[in-house]
């Protein structure tokens, strides 16, 4: 059966506190089910029928499981007391089990492993939303504050109250939008055989929508952006305020700066496409220059760096996290070489991000996908369909893929969003 929803207000969006009840018996013919649903709405709460099994013969009992939302915990509590009278009983009668973390950097045995979907835990008889939602973490409960949050394994501290087992934990699956707007146009998440202009338009709408709503747009980019000559498009998008956060590695920043200072990317001229003599040293020379100045910002302040993606980031105050890898040259001073610290920096920068654009990088896309809650929309643009597939396989199932060369994509995107 399809989910049936009801809401007393104009907005059906579930919010606030939630509880699930179960009702059995001849609930259709006795009008008990409609009565329960009516009472939920009359109380100002909203519901969703999560499961409904109708008995086949008249004597067979039916069964329904109903999620109920209310803004106010007291309203919900009173409503539940009323519904019990009509035979609807709370499903999750038990609190989540807690175990105290005994050592740093590891969960207690039997820990609950998170998904990237909205999660709630039951503590002292009440459901609380888990904050910092992220896959592959544990959930720490602050009993005094009545809060719960995702904690990565490496960040566990002794004494933390961690959830163990599955009892008292509830995950709300996200539904794909049913309407044709947004990304409803795509049924398969990745395909090279899709009209690219439609895909670009959807990204344009999503980025405009995020900016209008005061939300942040995250760009996760690989060096191919620079190699393909797209750095100017991205620079324009940053300058015009369409990107608020940038995640990349040493390579994107290095080749962007190489292009800005020397006109090449990996030693190849971006104007005529020809390799320049001693061009293979170019990126090392700019890294050295930046390191001598103390960093990218210092290079901008000194007038050495005057254009490009990193220049615009400094000028626009765009938050960027450059995460290091084992093959990096230099690296640039801003590159965070401790991956755990880099993950923490990325987590902190994700606050307020509503839309993420992953362009031409498998490594940083997967790393970011691991940190993102499922509610954040993700579009992954790559010439290689496997990049999108890898993301989905690692749990970032909300990803929509556009298989295309990044330059025409970014050129179209910039032309739509930041003409001129």
């Amino acid at each position: 059966m399809k989910h049936v929803k009801g809401s007393a207000g104009a907005s059906p969006a579930p919010a606030g506190v939630v509880e699930e009840v179960e009702v059995r018996g001849h609930i259709i013919d006795s009008l008990i089910l409609p009565k329960i649903l009516d009472r939920i709405l009359t109380a100002g709460a909203s519901f969703e029928i999560r499961e409904c099994k109708i008995g086949e013969r008249r004597t067979d009992p039916s069964h329904a499981r109903i999620a109920i939302w209310a803004d106010d915990p007291d309203v919900l509590s009173t409503l539940l007391g009323d519904l019990v009278e009509h035979g609807a009983w709370p499903v999750h009668a038990e609190d989540a089990a807690l175990a105290t973390a005994d050592i740093a950097g590891a969960f207690p045995d039997g820990f609950y492993s998170t998904t990237n979907m909205p999660t709630q835990v039951r503590h002292k008889g009440r459901w609380i939303d888990v904050s910092d939602q992220e896959m592959d973490c544990g959930i720490a409960v602050d009993a005094r504050a009545g809060t719960a949050r995702c904690v990565p394994m490496a960040r566990v501290e002794p004494g933390m109250a961690m959830i163990v087992g599955h009892a008292g934990v509830r995950v709300t699956p996200l539904e794909r939008p049913r309407d044709a707007a947004g990304f409803g146009f795509m049924n398969s998440t990745v395909s090279s055989e899709k009209p690219k202009a439609v895909g670009v338009r959807s990204v344009v709408e999503a980025m405009r929508g995020a900016r209008a709503a005061g939300k942040k747009v995250l760009l996760v980019g690989g060096p191919a952006i620079v190699h393909t000559g797209s750095a100017t498009h991205v620079a324009r998008l940053i300058r015009d305020g369409f990107i608020q956060v940038l995640f990349a590695g040493n390579a994107l920043a290095t080749h962007d700066i190489e292009q800005a200072i020397l006109g090449t990317s990996l030693g190849v001229s971006l104007t005529d496409g020809q390799p320049i003599e001693h061009g293979h040293e170019h990126h090392l020379r700019v890294i050295n220059t930046i390191r001598r100045l103390g960093g990218i910002k210092q290079a901008v302040d000194a007038g050495v760096l005057k254009s490009g993606i990193m220049y615009e980031c400094i000028k626009a105050g765009v938050e960027f996290v450059l995460a290091g890898s084992i093959r990096d040259d230099g690296p640039l001073p801003e590159v965070v070489t401790d991956v755990l610290v880099a993950q923490d920096r990325m987590r902190a920068a994700l606050a307020g991000v509503d839309f993420a654009l992953f362009v031409a990088t498998a490594l940083h896309s997967i790393a970011t996908g691991n940190l993102l809650p499922a509610r954040v929309k993700v579009v992954c643009v790559d010439i290689n369909p496997a990049t999108v597939t890898k993301l989905a396989d690692r749990g970032t199932f909300q990803t929509i893929g556009l298989v295309t060369d990044v330059e025409p994509f970014l050129r179209l995107l910039a032309a739509e969003l930041a003409p001129g």
Binding site: R24, H26, D29, S30, L31, I32, P34, R58, P61, G87
Partner: protein
């Protein structure tokens, strides 16, 4: 258990009947029942049932259990099963062991509800046709009815009781035949009224002024309805529908919130319960009858 041929009822003489506590809006400690008159009314009722051909089991009255006379609340009879009551009010909980031992002695399989659920027997659960109509809110829990439906494999339609004066289903609803029932609409909400109208082909409505004199709390033996006197409109409706009526005085019991129906438990199945006839047909078939 063998199928009795005559209608069979369980009653309890009112030797210790009285108003010793207040657990419904009718009971007033300040307005006690007249023991002598109560005895007269009970004996007249008992005699009438005998005249109508009923066989009557008597349970021994017990001092300190004034409401033991209301045997309708002993439990629910379904075929060879007796679903024992679990009283909501502590003052009546002492009745349960007596009713359960009576049921066991009578050969019933006694079913007990899970801990924490309340259920007050035929006071809140009445068959009309194949369906068990069940009242909840004041005395029995909706969940008890769900449990009973699953255990007995019958369709149970719980009806919310919304007026505390009609705290048991049998105070406002009385199936009189497979397709006919008396009801007082004011005791139910719109959902309950809709269910009754949808599922019972012929509903005889009791007027508000007659409902408050417990006219719905009637006993049916064959085609005769024994009810409280002072309900001429309902009596007329029943006559028009082809039933006989026997109005009697129950004033002393009404002071306690009960009348004819409350004073009896039908042991062999109510006239309106379809399972009784299914069983009888099976029994006849086995003996090579009709």
């Amino acid at each position: 258990m063998s199928q009795p041929l005559e209608p069979r009822l369980l009653m309890c003489p009112p030797d210790y009947f009285g108003i010793e506590y207040e657990i419904n809006p009718w009971m007033k400690l300040s307005r006690g029942a007249d023991a002598a008159r109560a005895g007269e009314q009970w004996r007249a009722f008992h005699q009438t049932l005998l005249e109508l051909g009923a066989e009557i089991d008597l349970i021994e009255p017990v001092h300190g259990l004034p409401d033991l006379v209301f045997t309708a609340n002993a439990g629910l009879v379904y075929q060879e099963v007796f679903v024992a009551s679990r009283f909501r009010h502590r003052v009546r909980q002492g009745e349960s062991p007596l009713f359960e031992s009576w049921a066991r002695a009578r050969g019933f399989e006694v079913l007990s509800l899970p801990h924490g659920l309340h259920f007050e027997g035929a006071g809140d659960a009445l068959f009309c046709g194949e369906v068990l109509f069940a009242g909840y809110r004041f005395r029995s829990d909706a969940r008890s009815h769900q449990w009973i439906g699953e255990r007995l494999g019958v369709e149970v339609l719980p009806l919310e009781l919304v007026d505390p004066r009609f705290y048991h289903l049998d105070t406002c609803f009385c199936p009189v035949a497979l397709d006919t029932a008396i009801y007082y609409p004011g005791a139910f909400d719109e959902y309950g009224r809709a269910v009754l109208r949808d599922r019972i082909p012929r509903l005889i409505e009791a007027a508000a002024d007659e409902a408050v004199s417990f006219s719905c709390n009637a006993v049916v033996v064959g085609h005769t309805v024994v009810l409280n006197e002072g309900a001429p409109k309902l009596a007329r409706s029943l006559l028009d529908c082809g039933f006989q009526v026997r109005p009697l005085a129950f004033s002393e019991f009404i002071k306690s919130g009960g009348s004819a129906k409350c004073l009896t438990l039908r042991i062999d199945g109510e006239e309106a319960a379809a399972w009784k006839y299914n069983e009888a047909r099976i029994a006849l078939g086995e003996t090579g009858g009709v």
